[in-house]
Symmetry: C2
Subunit: 249 residues, 2 copies
Amino acid sequence: MKKIFKNIFTKKDSRSPEDGIFFDALKAILGFDPVSLEPYRRAFTHRSSNKHDDKGNPVNYERLEFLGDAMLSSVIAAHLFNEVPSGDEGYLTKMRSKIVSREHLNELGRDLNLIGFIDSKIAPVHFGENVHGNIFEALVGAIYLDQGYPYCEIFIQKRVIEPYVDIPRLEGKVISYKSLLIEWCQKEKLAFHYDVFEDNGIDGQRLYGVRLSIGGKVVSKARATSKKKAEEKASQRAYFAFQEKINKK
Amino acid sequence: MKKIFKNIFTKKDSRSPEDGIFFDALKAILGFDPVSLEPYRRAFTHRSSNKHDDKGNPVNYERLEFLGDAMLSSVIAAHLFNEVPSGDEGYLTKMRSKIVSREHLNELGRDLNLIGFIDSKIAPVHFGENVHGNIFEALVGAIYLDQGYPYCEIFIQKRVIEPYVDIPRLEGKVISYKSLLIEWCQKEKLAFHYDVFEDNGIDGQRLYGVRLSIGGKVVSKARATSKKKAEEKASQRAYFAFQEKINKK
């Protein structure tokens, strides 16, 4: 009798409250509804949790990193191929390695606060910096298992390409968006102001939130591990937002 | 007037005889109908042909190699991930690099005789060994441009995974299929015979064709750059064919 009740309550369409919270949080990160929660749970399971499947294989995010890394590389390859028709093989290879660099993946994972979902026996403070990028890769792998390649493309477009893949910057042609933005404000005679709206440390990792106002209106926000980085990121976002407006005119 | 005629005759649905030949040959290699011939033409265009698009960008297969390599890596990654649930990240990475090794890609390209389609100002004898693998990668890139990721999966399944991705062999557990096959024939009391049906050199590259008969019937054929390699390949094909039959019983 107990077993029947258990089966009813673990059915997909009658999610437990815990699953419901995970589903909603995932949906916000992914931008679409996950179908099966299982691959995503695995993407957040650290090896220290010591979980195994019924054949004795370890269940954690390490194999998913391999899968996600492959999907990320091919989606970025196709994007660069289409975006930069003048770039040769060497150029495309170099640009891709900048985009999928360890440092960049860590930034992507940290920005989405993926570590907040981790299932582990170790406190997050002991993980080291690369955990952010590793879970990010594993999450891409989970998307592939759950929904296939086209959804990896959608997710990578939204979470990697749109906010971060900035070809002039990667080529080293733009050194600082803050200086580009200030120059533009001065030319347009607009007042600008950066202010720190957040300054906190979670598990020893300090995070700064910076807000940029132009002409008295908040135009962008960004979080990063230093005030300077957060200002640069907020400037980049504002710069692209304005560029779009300028191009639309 | 001349121009109108030219437009009519270059329309997709009224292919020139030359396009028709290329279309049929491609279809045989791909296993499906190409939609646009343009990416495939590029996949067979060597830099020595010195072609450019209307913006002055070089048109040859080098950028397509980058794209095809990325698609190949991700399709093989997904296959290994699903096939070997017990393999960790290090194992999966090692297995994939064996499958997409330069040597293996050259073998794949050579077997399909892709070099026969090449558009070049240089004689094939001057290309070097890697041209076979390079055009193979470029062909995968062309499939992606023409038909998208799912068709890359279909092609790689048919042309790489089914005939060549042999996990026990890659793991080094099987050293020789020839010896496995001979052992099996002796156990089953079946006569076997290898004979060379082809021995020729095109542009200095010697190719051997070997035919394997078991119980008086030809069961497999293979071509390779040495007699020994061709025998091993023919043995592997026969071994898998028999394994399937044994499993079906």
